[in-house]
Assembly symmetry: C2
Homo-oligomer: 174 residues x 2
Amino acid sequence: MIAEIDLKKCIRDIADFPKPGILFKDITTLLKDGKAFAQTVDALAQKYKNEKIDKVLAIEARGFIFGAAVAYKLGAGFIPVRKKGKLPAKTTSVTYSLEYGTDTLQMHEDAIKSGENILIVDDLLATGGTANAVAGLVKKMGGKIAGIAFLIELVDLKGIEKLKEYPVYSLIKC
Amino acid sequence: MIAEIDLKKCIRDIADFPKPGILFKDITTLLKDGKAFAQTVDALAQKYKNEKIDKVLAIEARGFIFGAAVAYKLGAGFIPVRKKGKLPAKTTSVTYSLEYGTDTLQMHEDAIKSGENILIVDDLLATGGTANAVAGLVKKMGGKIAGIAFLIELVDLKGIEKLKEYPVYSLIKC
């Protein structure tokens, strides 16, 4: 048996980013460690290997890093969800509330076929607003949500409560 | 032997995106096909499997998709190069010319150790300006450039001429 890396220790805390009072979870220290990155992707993929995932959907930009590697490992397709105006073909959009104001995310209308098994992957579960909005988009397009997987869950923010109707998995709880 | 997918046929041309007169290469049609995506990642990784790649570096945001999966396949670390202000720790920057104006990209100062073998991965080689700027950053930090790999090379734009000093590989030439 190979000794496992403590992934939590690979995450770096950065004070006051992006603004004063925020303690930012910096994942680049985990990413640059090839063994820690591989262990992360393997652990996320392992959880869903018997779920017949058709496509992994991930949110721009950090979500792409974990989502694409997990899609590759599962042999699934990959769907990028992007900020407004970045996708070239016909899109479907969702606008949702942030702490201040709103944000809009888009995916291609032809990204999901009705009945497909979709895994949503993102790096961080904070308030859950983004994941909940994206899960709504998937359902609107006829996809079935097999799971929503995060690298890190910020437990105190209770984002999990917004995602009650979905199976949620977090690799690291902080 | 498994029949190979013609990856070029998996790319969709979108006219007049992001502005009139541009024929955009849409890779989302390749990504959503699990077999085509896996074949792409395998082909890119295969090219460098004997090169002892320490880290794969990729450029926000589409580059993350291929770069992260190739890093995983090679067992290498992953370095995100991002737009200004997105990385939380101390960064090093490069500003380079675009058709109109300039752009700035950043990576963390501690991303590369001197002497490490770096593979740069991006989705598209157009004029070569971005890849050349990022390769300069890698050299500045003491990294050795083992290769620059693209999914697509737009041959008519002659971006390869800006990258003469590096080993460049493109999976699809258009």
